[in-house]
Each structure stands twice: as C-alpha cells, then as structure tokens.
C-alpha cells in the first residue's frame, strides 16, 4: 500500500487485510512490552492544519508503539500561519526525511494533492480532509463492529448482512462518507438518518438508504447505531431550529437506547456533545463502544502505518522532484 487517501477506492481484500493486521496489532498491545521494533528508523510526520486532539494522539501512539520517530506539525503558530503554501510545507518535510505524512486539512482533496503532486515521496495518510473522507475512522469503526460481533473469531470476516444506522449531520461529516463506502464494500447495509437540511444533494449516488425519522430506522433492529457529532463549528447556517428540537427528534436518548435489540451497539467517533446528539445514558451504557473505538483506533493506525512503511517500496524513491 502506497497511500491511504479514502475508503471509496479501497477494495475488499485490502480493507480486510488492514482489519486483520489490526487484530495482530491489538494482540501485541496486551503484552508486557507494548513497543515493537518494526518501524525503527522511520519518520512519521503528523501534519495537522485543523485542530484535532484524539486523531493526532492516536496516530502518535500508533507510530511510537512501532518505534517510528514522530514529528508533530500543527499549522497554528507555524510557518503556515505566515502564509506558507502546502507545496513549500511538503517540500520542507521531504527535506527533513519524512517517510510518511499523516495529514488533516480543512480543504477536501488536500491529501490527494499531496500524494499525487510529486512534491514528496513519503506515503500519505488522510486523517480527515474537509467534508471528504476520514478513512482510518471508518476502518476503526468497521473493526469495532466486527470485534463486537465475532470476538476472537473476527479474522478474515467481512460485515455481510449486518445493518448499520448512521445518524446526524451527514452533510458535513467525512466520517459518514468514509463509513458508507467502507461498510458497503464489506457487505453491510447502511441507513442514513438526518434532518433533510443535513443530507447532501448527491446522496442518491451513495450505497445507502436515507430516512428522515430516527424511530423508523431504529425499528429495523440495526446491529450498530453510529451517532455523528453535530459540528457546530461548520454550521454557518440554520440547519435546524433549536438544539432541543434536534435532540428530541434525532438524538439518541435513554428510551431509544432501551428499545434497541439485544446485542446492538451504540457508536460515536467523539468528541461527544452530550445531551445533543447522544444522551449520557446512551454514551455510558454497556452498548456504547466509544472507548473501544479509541483503543481500536490505535491498532488500526498501527496496521496502516505498517502497511505503508514496513515493506519494500514498489516504486523508486525520489521520483521526479
């Protein structure tokens, strides 16, 4: 694997390979010594043009558990705030000797540009770009669903026949997009639930069903209910009348959680707006996988970095710089 830019173009075999290697990575994390020597001498740069704590920490933990050196580059207070272009930043990282660049950027497509521009030879991992994709989040969600469903027997399995409901701000959510593509590739049925104002226009092209009523979707006894964060920072228009109304119609409250079938799980990518899209009863119930998702995120990111960096490079280093 050269880059991980999206899940839309991730084939089933590669997706399963990442999930299975993540199982092996998860096993090593229960050992006395969690650190592996695998990526000794490799350098991973976390290039974050957008605020993020958990994703950056997760990538950092993953890289460090594999013995890679980690350089954190936050755009705030850096040369970027002085007006440096993505190209110059990238070439600086290349000169430092980065083997992989983990990039989060407010512009959709920035990781793609970085990977295909020829500015750098490092592998690129998309850690969230605009409203486009967040592939490692989708992979860790799929991993979590599979793990809860099949336990120790997870290796090699896809999600065929499972039903996943994704609820909330689909319009602004790269998590939703990445999940829709990946879950469909893995054979799951996906239903999107959102207020009509928060459904993207081209949704009919996605491999998912759309309903506007949460209770109608929950009646279909889903195996997993994924709540999306209401991204107040991206809301520059009135998408719903009040937070209270949103919470009543599309929030996962105690009653809705109690009505879920046995064995179905409640997911949230974090950070949660408790009382808005998810109630504390739901977030803290035994069905909730919120903290498992965080743990699994490290294993998934270890697997991705392993696949990007460990093996022989299938192209010549350097390229046409």
């Amino acid at each position: 694997m050269r880059h991980l830019l999206d899940t839309r173009n991730l084939d089933r075999a590669t997706a399963l390979r990442i999930l299975d290697i993540a199982e092996d990575m998860a096993d090593t994390q229960s050992r006395e010594v969690k650190k592996l020597p695998t990526l000794r001498g490799k350098t991973v740069v976390n290039l974050f043009f957008e605020d993020s704590t958990r994703t950056r920490i997760s990538f950092e933990a993953a890289a460090k558990r594999l013995s890679a050196d980690v350089i954190n580059f936050a755009a705030k207070g850096s040369s970027v705030s002085k007006g440096e272009s993505l190209k110059d930043t990238a070439q600086t990282l290349e000169a430092i000797g980065a083997d992989a660049v983990v990039i989060r950027h407010p512009a959709s497509g920035a990781p793609q540009t970085l990977a295909t521009s020829g500015w750098i030879s490092a592998g690129v991992v998309n850690a969230g770009d605009g409203t486009h994709e967040h592939p490692t989040q989708a992979l860790l969600d799929a991993f979590t669903i599979r793990k809860r469903r099949f336990g120790a027997d997870s290796r090699g399995r896809d999600l065929a026949g499972l039903h996943v409901v994704i609820v909330g701000d689909v319009l602004h959510s790269r998590v939703a997009r990445s999940n829709v593509w990946l879950l469909a590739t893995l054979g799951a049925d996906v239903t999107l639930v959102a207020p009509p104002t928060l459904v993207p226009q081209n949704v009919s092209l996605w491999p998912a069903r759309v309903v506007y009523d949460l209770d109608e979707a929950l009646e279909q006894s889903p195996d997993a209910v994924m709540m999306l964060r209401i991204q107040l920072e991206r809301m520059n228009a009135a998408y719903f009348p009040t937070e209270r109304e949103y919470s009543r119609r599309w929030g996962l409250d105690a009653l809705r959680v109690a009505a879920l079938p046995e064995g179905s799980i409640v997911m949230h990518p974090g950070p949660m707006n408790r009382g808005l899209e998810i109630s504390s009863e739901a977030a803290d119930s035994p069905r909730s996988t919120v903290l498992e998702q965080v743990t699994n995120g490290v294993s998934i990111r270890m697997a991705v970095l392993y696949l990007l960096l460990a093996g022989e490079r299938d192209d010549e280093r350097g390229g046409d710089l």
């Binding site: 694997m1 390979r17 299975d20 290697i21 199982e23 092996d24 096993d27 090593t28 050992r31 006395e32 010594v33 969690k34 650190k35 592996l36 020597p37 695998t38 594999l66 290796r155 392993y306 696949l307 460990a310 093996g311 022989e312 490079r313 299938d314």
Partner: protein, 176 residues
C-alpha cells in the same frame, strides 16, 4: 533443475521422536515445558512434538505459536508480509522452559527475531531451540539445541519442508 528428497515421511517421524526424547532428557521431564512454534510449519511441528512428548511422559505440554514478523530486520527488503497470530498458552512463559520450534535453520535471523518477540511477552527461565533441518550458513551466533537432521547445502540452494497439515505431502527436499 535437480531436486532431491533428503528426508522422507519415516525419516521426519523418527527425527521428531528423537527430538521429543532429547527435550525430555535435557529438561529432566516435562515440568514447566512450553513449546512455541514459529509460523507456519514450526507451529505444526510444535504440535507434533507436544503429542509425542505427551505419549512418552503421559502429560499435557502447552503449545503456542510465536509470530516474528513485526520483529524482523529484513522487512524493508521484501514486499509487505502479513503477520500471523501469536498464541501464548494460558500459563504464560514466565519462569518456564521455552522450546522454540522451527522447520529450517538458515541464517539465524528468524531466531534472533523470535528471541526479541519472546522478550516482549515475558521472561522464561530457559529458551531452547529445536529445528527439523539445519542447513548451515549462520549469520549470527545462534546454535540449535535439538536437530532433526544436518543437511549441508549451498547458499543458493532451496531447502523445502513439506508437511501433511500445511502442504498435503510429507518430505524435505533440496534443489536449485
């Protein structure tokens, strides 16, 4: 292209039976013994040795598998390998006599990786090495304790171990 068979089914069975006896002799019984196979054929051999030891000593010997992929020093020289699951027996390996089992011993680098992998899991009292075929050409100061068969080989030759459980045939061949 000449490939010849150096061990046949009966030879492999005899070698394993002898190794089982030698392990019991050097350990003075089967107490605290743990067999760890290196995937994939080492795991098969470890299970066979455990069965043989069980038949001789009338005890159950714990068997596990130890993946070394993440500890290799040659990862960047090959296309990306997928790791295999590591499965450590319930009793762990702390204070135990761990016998590493592999099919072929060549450069010794796999065993170096295996020793690192063991270190991340626990601290055995003793680590021993059982090998079906020793073909020479060591690159590190590593020496097996139990050897099925010494097979002198040229560095360029291929030594192939095939086992019923993995390959549907049972033989050791050497060829160009």
């Amino acid at each position: 292209m000449s490939t010849r068979t150096v061990l046949q089914e009966a030879d492999i069975a005899r070698a394993l039976t002898r190794i089982a006896h030698e392990i019991l002799e050097s350990n003075r019984g089967s107490e605290d013994l743990v067999l760890l196979g290196i995937p994939t054929r080492g795991v098969t051999l470890a299970h066979r040795l455990a069965a043989l030891i069980g038949g001789i000593a009338q005890t159950q010997t714990p068997v596990g598998s130890l993946d070394i992929t993440l500890f290799r020093d040659d990862l960047s020289k090959h296309p990306t390998r997928s790791p295999h699951p590591t499965d450590i027996p319930a009793g762990g390996i702390d204070g135990k006599t761990v016998v590493l089992v592999d099919d072929v011993l060549f450069s010794g680098r796999s065993i170096r990786a295996a020793l690192d992998a063991i270190q991340s899991i626990g601290r055995p009292a003793v680590v021993r090495l059982a090998i079906l075929v020793d073909r020479g050409h060591r690159e590190l100061p590593i020496r097996p304790d139990f050897i099925g068969k010494n097979i002198p080989s040229a560095r360029t030759e291929r030594v192939n171990v095939r086992l019923h459980e993995n390959d549907g045939a049972e033989e050791v061949t050497i060829g160009a």
